[in-house]
């Protein structure tokens, strides 16, 4: 079942948006709350924001696509955030990204077809002494090695692709 077919709780959406005055300056905050609640920005959410604040939908859509904090596609059940800050980068964060692609078939910004896993890169978690670091659903995994990432994927129920390169 595609995650996009999920019905969005409109009442909840409106409840969230009513926390703010209908002014342009609160669009970012409205989107953050929706993202926090639904783990993505449902299309309906953008449309309601546009009408509540009285700005064109195109402008709201521009903001939703400009700011990386938001996702227009639901994240996976397990969302991997691989830190690609410079300290993590020079300690091999790209190896982790490659391994996730090799075993789960997803690149940063993508979600697996079954909605189980998604991966994104973040620019510095601020835990540079633990480089390379990744976060799986708010759990920080420090100093992840190229074998360590395989264990992590397995621990969350991912299938390891033993063949090919």
């Amino acid at each position: 079942m595609s995650a996009n077919a999920k019905q969005v709780d409109s009442k909840k959406l409106i409840q969230i948006l009513n926390n703010y005055p209908g002014e342009k300056r609160y669009i970012l905050a409205m989107m953050q709350d929706i993202q926090g609640e639904f783990k993505y920005l449902p299309r309906e959410g953008l449309e309601i924001i546009a009408s509540r604040v009285d700005v064109p939908l195109s402008r709201v859509y521009s903001m939703a696509t400009f700011y990386k904090a938001f996702s227009l596609v639901p994240k996976g059940r397990i969302n991997f955030k691989v830190c690609d800050g410079t300290a993590c980068h020079i300690k091999g964060s790209n190896v982790l990204i490659d391994q996730i692609y090799k075993h789960l078939g997803i690149k940063p910004g993508e979600t697996t077809a079954d909605g189980e896993f998604s991966i994104e890169t973040v620019n510095c978690l601020g835990a540079c002494a633990l480089a390379p670091a990744l976060v799986a659903n708010d759990k920080v995994h420090p100093k992840v090695t190229s074998s360590g990432i395989i264990e992590i994927i397995k621990s969350y129920g991912g299938q390891i692709n033993a063949t090919g390169n």
Binding site: S58, R59, T65
Partner: protein, 252 residues
């Protein structure tokens, strides 16, 4: 107050941009994202000029730089020409399917004009001057906007789908300097930004002139209904002239 552009002394109003002042005085500065209806946007950076205030000299975008003091401006120097040359090269590199950019590239880099291959990918012709977005905002319905950011920046309707608010007026396509926006149309239909519109024929001359949505939108905004609303621009003008003649006839 007085400033000088290329050693020519000109009179300006405080707050006017260098580009406006130059245009008023017939001094040419190349632009790509400027339009006389909307002013400059500071995006293409072709209009960079050298400004000297007192002892400091720096490069600024003439379309957004407001004049508040006496300055000496140079619209062309070797450094400025290098910038323009590189901007054109970079834009052509990204929009190789644009005849406009190909011509501009030859103008700055020399060489014979070549064949330009049409690409179905709109991005291969778009130079992101955003004049289309501006036009849609001002005279359309803000149906398109610049989405994403950085090297992924592009123009589109929300979700890359037919926009509920687009009225198919094609103001965007008309203003686009590179002709990047595709319109497919017949006598009865217009397809633009993935949306199909019905073209309406002028009641007087029978030529298709607007989309039904466009007419509805104009009627809602201006309150103009009735016969005039169903005429193309030419015919409406002619009908106006007839009315004026009739009115002056009645008056005398």
């Amino acid at each position: 107050m007085k400033i000088s552009i290329d050693h020519q002394e000109i009179e300006v109003n405080p707050g006017e941009t260098i580009l406006e002042a130059a245009k008023k005085n017939g001094i040419h500065i190349p632009t790509l994202c400027y339009h006389e209806a909307y002013g400059g946007q500071g995006m293409c950076r072709m209009c960079m000029v050298e400004v000297k205030t007192g002892h400091t000299t720096r490069m600024v975008a003439s379309c957004t730089y407001p004049i508040y003091e006496e300055i000496k401006v140079k619209t062309s120097t070797p450094a400025i020409e290098k910038i323009r040359k590189n901007i054109v090269a970079l834009l052509y590199r990204s929009s190789p399917s644009s005849e406009f950019m190909e011509k501009l590239y030859r103008q700055y880099h020399g060489g014979e004009s070549g064949e330009v291959q049409y690409s179905f990918d709109f991005k291969d012709r778009c130079i992101l001057c955003r004049l289309c977005v501006k036009a849609c905002e001002e005279i359309g319905t803000s149906a398109i906007s610049a989405i994403y950011r950085g090297t992924d920046k592009r123009i589109s309707t929300p979700f890359d789908e037919a926009s509920a608010t687009c009225i198919g007026c094609a103001a965007c396509a008309q203003i686009c300097p590179t002709g990047a926006i595709d319109i497919f149309q017949s006598d009865t239909e217009r397809i633009i930004w993935n949306k199909t519109f019905t073209r309406v024929k002028c009641e007087r001359c029978g030529e298709p002139f607007a989309t039904r949505e466009q007419l509805e939108y104009i009627a809602a905004r201006t309150g103009i209904k009735g016969y005039e609303a169903r005429l193309c621009e030419d015919c409406r003008k002619k009908s106006m002239v007839v009315k004026i003649i009739e009115a002056s006839g009645n008056g005398s």
